[in-house]
């Protein structure tokens, strides 16, 4: 009987949610985003691109739906699992954008919820929800790509603060970050995984600087960040000294699922529709038979990958925890995306390889294509994911 009562409540919640969203979400905030400049990132220098961005953020903020599933004392909406799911579904149904894009919400938040002190949670989580701080991630270093634990950035204990020296790379939009969550080495005596700590660094501190990295796509979505005798207060340590590696691993699992496409609500245009636009079709059949076969195989794998996400979520709901699968999702999702763009470029022929010019949309396809090559590198390379699968899931021996 209780279950029935619950169901009724959820039905009501869905109805009210939909009505509220429909009444409050501006029309322009229901359009797909066109790129990373087309969203509100918040932060000390955060700007609303149009008044609608501001309206939408403030409405959702007042409703406590910036972090709907966080507890109320942290600025969250306190929704339970089912309510949160319904809200997500209804937003996706109406095409509502997220009111705030934030690595604080998607990456740092989960770590704080699990590892921070109550005081830290109240301070930082509320700041995230209020869009006061724009966060960046500082894991990778020049010498350590896949070997993430090879952290060389040092944080020396100076009593009331750490003195940080070193360099990070691959910080997304690092030049715009107010603060960075970092892996630093606090102990050089112990084995490399044990001497790492998780530290929050304010980029306004003396000695902290950034430099954008230009990619093969011509764009610079990442930065190098440099730390030259940067003083970081002790209270900015999350967890205990030496716990950094555990926290990082916990977050990487989240990140992998994101990059692999899990939780993506955005449904891309079928490549076969794109192909039909650009390629010769005779009697409903593409004349480029080789590409046609490649597209059919791609669409098969894409459709079945989506089913796999669905299945694994269903299994998880039924209590079958398949956490180890995140490596598989990261691997397969990014390889699929690379295939997608190879096909898109092949479909558009020489036009898809133009770099500039209005009629070629300023080389958008060529640049996106190049960007996808990084998918199987960032967030743990495909090779690392395959290592993890073979060891943790298949139990194959190491040498």
């Amino acid at each position: 009987m209780e279950a029935t009562a619950d169901k009724k409540d959820l039905k009501k919640f869905r109805k009210e949610t939909r009505e509220w969203l429909d009444a409050n979400c501006p029309e322009s905030m229901r359009q797909p985003i066109t790129g990373p400049e087309d969203v509100y990132w918040g932060g000390r220098n955060g700007e609303f691109k149009t008044p609608d961005f501001k309206i939408w953020f403030e409405k959702m903020h007042a409703k406590k739906w910036i972090a709907p599933h966080w507890e109320k004392q942290y600025g969250g909406g306190g929704l339970d699992r089912m309510e949160y799911k319904i809200l997500t579904e209804e937003m996706s149904r109406l095409g509502c954008r997220k009111p705030l894009f934030s690595f604080g919400l998607s990456m740092l938040g989960p770590a704080l919820l699990k590892f921070a002190t109550e005081e830290q949670k109240i301070k930082y989580l509320n700041d995230i929800v209020d869009a006061k701080i724009r966060w960046g991630q500082g894991y990778s270093e020049p010498g350590a790509g896949s070997d993430l634990a090879n952290v060389q950035t040092k944080a020396e204990d100076k009593g009331d603060h750490y003195l940080v020296n070193g360099q990070k790379v691959w910080t997304s939009y690092g030049e715009k970050a107010d603060m960075i969550f970092c892996l630093v080495r606090t102990d050089v005596e112990v084995p490399k995984h044990h001497g790492i700590s998780f530290l929050l660094i304010d980029m306004a501190t003396d000695g902290a600087t950034t430099r954008p990295i230009k990619l093969i796509s011509g764009k610079s979505p990442f930065c190098e960040t440099f730390y030259d005798n940067v003083k970081v207060p002790k209270e900015n340590l999350i967890g205990t000294e030496g716990q950094g590696w555990d926290i990082a691993k916990y977050l990487l699992t989240h990140e992998r699922q994101m990059i692999g496409g899990i939780g993506e609500t955005h449904v891309p245009t079928p490549v076969s529709d794109i192909a039909k636009k650009y390629l010769e079709i005779k009697g409903d059949v593409m004349t480029d038979a080789v590409l046609r076969a490649e597209i059919a195989k791609f669409e098969m794998d894409e459709a079945i990958f989506d089913m796999t996400i669905e299945r694994v979520i269903d299994e998880a709901k039924a209590g079958n925890n398949s956490g180890a699968l995140s490596s598989f999702f990261k691997f397969y999702g990014t390889e699929l995306n690379k295939r997608r763009y190879e096909i898109m470029v092949a479909c558009q022929g020489i036009d898809g390889l133009a770099w500039e010019g209005e009629q070629y949309n300023h080389g958008a396809i060529a640049k996106q294509f190049l960007r996808t090559k990084g998918n199987s590198i960032e967030g743990g390379t495909s090779e690392i994911q395959l290592n993890i699968i073979s060891k943790r899931i298949l139990g194959l021996p190491t040498r």
Binding site: I295, M300, I304, A318, L396, R399
Partner: protein, 368 residues
């Protein structure tokens, strides 16, 4: 429609698995092969399977079945795939049972389905007429209730009590008809296949027809529908074979030592294994989703069937090839069982359309 099994389905899977574990290991198939068994399956095993209700899983209770649905039948087929159980399940239940259930009228169902559910009647489904699956290629004609034509790749054709035959009438309209195997004018030639099972070439010369299955919106749709259900059922069987071949390979990688270490410690093999693991995860998803599509009478059935048969065909090929390669010389011997999966993979690949056939069909569905 969550993509998980109900408790009942899980239970069914377990009990089928226990039966096959004691009665139908690959050794049983090897014995049928080496003794050149004229039936090609074990009558006593089929009796036990029927007693467990496996022959009547998809048949309504009104006709002696369990009305358990195709997700359930899929679990049994998957279990059969694990030890390559030879039985009339595909010919009689998956293909013919489905045809009668979908296309038969009340009287026809009453007449044929109880025999299927009890395991007493063996049915064979005679569809193709060439070496490649092609439902459009049908030259078997029906005139005045008599049929004539040549059918190929008829599973269990050599032991069937009844045939369900795809024919065309004078107007060129496709039909499924029921023929008693005792009728005159039927010439059956048994073909032993690479996978140690049997197909038959069947020649019909003015053979009397018992019934025409005509209780479906359109008979062309009936045939496509039956084929799609069967393709999904075969995909479920393939899933069992793929998983078994893969887990045997992984076990061998852990056990076999070369250069002083287990060969499973070599990263090149690890990555190939990890990639296969991913493909198999995909296979599991498309199989359960397409089985559910049958039970839910989804409009997507043709698409789901082709996705399932194409993907499983591709993966079974890959996993069975890698199985032999990773077992090395041992894998090439008849004594080792991994080769049986390679053989089954190829025969089932070419049953009811191979990967290429279904990729092409998927492209046609989307008009590209």
């Amino acid at each position: 429609m969550a993509l998980i099994l109900t408790e009942e389905e899980q239970l069914l899977k377990t009990s089928a698995s226990e039966l096959f574990k004691s009665k139908a290991q690959i050794a049983a198939l090897r014995k049928l092969r080496d003794e050149k068994d004229p039936l090609g399956y074990s009558k006593s095993l089929w009796k036990e399977m029927s007693n467990l209700g496996l022959a009547g899983l998809t048949i309504s209770e009104a006709y002696g079945g369990l009305d358990f649905g195709y997700v359930g039948l899929g679990q049994v087929l998957e279990t059969c795939g694990r030890t390559l159980v030879a039985s009339p399940l595909v010919s009689t239940v998956l293909l013919s049972g489905t045809a009668i259930q979908l296309g038969g009228n009340e009287a026809q169902k009453k007449q044929y389905l109880p025999g299927i559910a009890s395991g007493d009647s063996i049915f064979a489904f005679a569809m193709d007429e060439g070496k490649h699956h092609n439902p459009e290629n049908c030259n078997t004609k029906i005139t005045n209730n008599l049929i004539s034509g040549n059918k190929t790749m008829v599973i269990d054709g050599h032991v069937a009590n009844y045939f369900i035959v795809a024919v065309k009438d004078e107007k060129g309209i496709s039909k499924l008809v029921v023929v008693n195997a005792k009728n005159e004018g039927i010439l059956v030639e048994k073909i032993e296949m690479m996978d140690s099972r049997n197909l038959a070439n069947v020649r019909f010369e003015n053979v009397k027809v018992e019934d025409i299955l005509d209780s479906y919106s359109s008979s062309t749709n009936l045939i496509e529908n039956v084929l799609d259900v069967a393709r999904i059922g075969l995909a479920a069987e393939m899933l069992g074979g793929i998983q078994e071949a893969f887990s045997r390979t992984i076990a061998y990688l852990k056990e076999r030592r070369q250069f002083g270490v287990p060969i499973g410690s070599f990263q090149a093999l690890q990555h190939r294994a990890a990639e296969m693991f991913g493909e198999i995860e995909l296979c599991k998803s498309v199989v359960i989703k397409s089985l559910k599509a049958i039970d839910n009478q989804s409009d997507d059935l043709p698409k789901m069937a082709s996705l399932a048969k194409a993907k499983l065909g591709e993966t079974y090929k890959r996993v069975s090839n890698e199985g032999i390669q990773m077992f090395g010389g041992i894998g090439m011997t008849d004594d080792e069982e991994i080769g049986f999966f390679l053989k089954r993979a190829r025969v089932v690949q070419h049953t009811l359309g191979d990967t290429n056939f279904h990729l092409d069909r998927l492209a046609k569905m989307k008009k590209y």
